[in-house]
């Protein structure tokens, strides 16, 4: 029984990491229908930023986290301005290739500048394990879980309650009509990128702290997993991204715990395909009817 609870905790903490990354994916996709392959690499940038400011400028945790969010937001906006904006009216597949190019650029540029070695992230918060009746949970796990939940609620509020959020929703439904009613599309899209990328920057610091290991290619695997999570939840939907993230985290943990660790990714993809077949737009996705 203890083991079962422990595995649930493991699954939730892994899931919260995927959810944190999936939120950014889903926001960007929701508004410009672009699979932002570079999202995982902004997460990497955030982690490296945290690494440097803590080691060199001795930032504390909160300021490292906030500054990483700023750096993430800035890099997201810059990438959008230079790489995606010129392609807004091109075929979507072109924008996708550009996103892949940006991702290659960030990964290899960072490898070139800072070497591809794995580094240890400064342990600015001491990890403490709490023992709840034989089930271990660490303070950083709780921190990540709580942050993921807070950010999710906050995002939902921004999207549903603020003027900017209304603009974002309008642009996502029909950019031309949104422009007609006086919404500044460029500004709205930049804001979305800033928001999504800030989340990735925060995730970089949190996950760097949790696993204590960062390298220039760290964004690749979780990036793809988070993307799968976003699709599973219904890409474009904020609650969907979180549910997808937690679902994948728990599935992965479950199949590893029953001894199928070699097939854990295969099982995740299999579940993904099955869910997509039953719900073609993901769990929370809106299935738009096609009109003639």
């Amino acid at each position: 029984m203890q083991t079962v609870f422990q595995q649930i905790i493991n699954g939730l903490s892994l899931g919260s990491i995927y959810a944190l990354l999936a939120l950014g994916y889903t926001m960007v996709y929701g508004i410009i229908k672009l699979i932002n392959f570079a999202h995982g690499d902004i997460y990497m940038l955030g982690a490296f930023w945290g690494y440097y400011v803590i080691n060199v400028w001795h930032f504390n945790f909160i300021s490292a986290l906030l500054s990483a969010m700023l750096v993430g937001a800035a890099s997201g906006v810059i990438i959008e301005y230079f790489a995606y904006r010129p392609l807004r009216h091109s075929p979507r597949i072109t924008a996708l290739i550009t996103a892949i190019g940006v991702s290659f650029f960030l990964e290899n540029g960072m490898s070139y500048l800072f070497s591809s070695n794995t580094r240890d992230f400064p342990q600015i918060i001491k990890q403490v394990n709490y023992n709840l009746g034989g089930v271990l949970i660490s303070n950083i796990q709780i921190l990540i879980l709580v942050t993921a939940c807070i950010l999710m609620v906050l995002l939902q509020l921004i999207i549903k309650k603020t003027k900017m959020g209304r603009a974002m929703r309008a642009v996502s439904v029909d950019p031309d009509a949104a422009e007609l009613v006086g919404i500044n599309i460029n500004w709205t899209i930049s804001f979305t990128f800033a928001l999504g990328s800030a989340l990735a920057g925060a995730a970089g610091v949190l996950i760097g702290l949790y696993y204590n290991s960062i390298d220039p290619l760290m964004g690749m695997t979780p990036g793809i997993k988070a993307f799968v999570a976003a699709v599973l939840g219904g890409i474009g939907s904020v609650p969907g991204a979180s549910v997808g993230g937690f679902l994948i985290g728990i599935l992965e943990t479950f199949f590893q715990s029953i001894g199928l660790s070699a097939y854990k990714d295969a099982v995740v993809y299999f579940v993904l395909i099955v869910i997509l077949l039953i719900m073609p737009a993901g769990i929370f996705g809106k299935n738009t009817k096609e009109k003639v």
Binding site: I93, T94, I97, F104, N108, V228, A262, A266, L276, E290
Partner: protein, 319 residues
């Protein structure tokens, strides 16, 4: 019919000429092992990318799982030619690879091709990953170490001939009734359906044909390189094939050829740049996409027919 036959004959002559040109250059020593290596890699990429272009460019189905079908072909050849070390064994293994990958394409395609756009992309990517992970955990495939010391039964002439054959098949398919049906599905599914086209059947046909050519490319890859491992067929391989298709122009076979050659040459030239190579590659990729969003050639196609027609028109004017 007769005119089509004429153009096919002309293409055939060009292909034979190209073959002799290569042969001569190798004999003279202009093409050494290094360049031969590069050309074969380009050839294999052409086969892969034309197949994917059929699926993405002509049928309009966004598939990200091409490397999975390539893996099936590669492993079929690697396993069969281990025991049957003859050219016959090789062609048998190519055939086996095609059959298995067609079966896999049907298993993957029948359920997933109902999905649209990015959902289809992620589902096919998942399917390819499942194939790769299964290969990675099987005994007969050598697990993560893969298979090496595969006898080299495919040298550049085999690859050259296969490039020609698959291209002829795909181009003729595109220009056939089926090809027009496939293109109509891309343009407007509902209109196509209203015209009495079984859209699902034609989507699946394009998908299966693309998968079969990927298997051929995989066989050639395994036999030429003499070593394969599951890591060769990951998501990144699917993406690099996709890059060739988009860079050349979605829906242009000529573009695919040009892009495969450009990227192949670029990749080898960049070997001189060490750690910077991938940075330069990435920048080049982004710049090409920004300044040429529809790819190098867009949907433009090199056509002998058109050139002849132009001649004809000129003659008429002169007369």
């Amino acid at each position: 019919m007769k005119t089509n036959f004429k153009y096919n004959i002309i293409w055939f002559i060009i292909m034979v000429a190209g073959f002799y040109l290569m042969n001569t250059l190798i004999l003279v020593g202009v093409i050494n092992t290094f360049i031969e290596n590069m050309l074969v890699t380009i050839g294999i990429n052409i086969i892969l990318a034309t197949g994917l272009n059929l699926i993405i460019g002509f049928a309009g189905q966004f598939s990200l799982g091409h490397a999975g079908f390539m893996a099936i072909g590669a492993y079929a050849t690697a396993i069969i030619t281990q025991t049957a070390t003859t050219p016959v064994g090789f062609y048998l293994s190519v055939f086996a690879g095609i059959v298995v990958s067609i079966i896999a394409a049907l298993i993957v395609g029948i359920p997933t091709l109902r999905l649209r756009g990015d959902y289809l992309a992620i589902a096919t990517m998942g399917a390819a990953e499942i194939i790769r992970i299964i290969i990675n955990n099987m005994k007969i495939t050598g697990g993560a170490a893969g298979i090496f010391n595969i006898p080299q039964l495919a040298s550049w002439p085999t690859v050259y001939i296969m490039v020609c054959v698959t291209t002829i098949i795909i181009v003729n398919f595109i220009h056939s009734r089926g090809g027009r049906a496939v293109t109509s599905v891309r343009e407007d599914e509902i209109a196509a359906e209203a015209m009495g086209i079984n859209i699902f059947k034609w989507k699946l046909a394009a998908f299966v044909l693309g998968a079969a050519t990927a298997a051929v490319a995989g066989s050639l890859h395994a036999s030429f390189l003499q070593t394969i491992s599951p890591n060769d067929f990951g998501i990144m391989e699917s993406i690099s094939i996709l890059i060739i298709v988009v860079l050349g122009g979605v829906g242009s076979i000529t573009g695919t050829f040009v892009a495969a050659i450009v990227l192949g040459v670029l990749d080898t030239v960049l070997q001189d740049f060490g750690a910077l190579r991938m940075v330069i590659y990435a920048v080049a990729l982004v710049l090409i996409m920004i300044f040429k969003p529809s790819g190098i050639l867009g949907t433009w196609e090199f056509s002998i027919k058109r050139i002849f027609n132009r001649f004809k028109r000129k003659e008429r004017v002169e007369q």
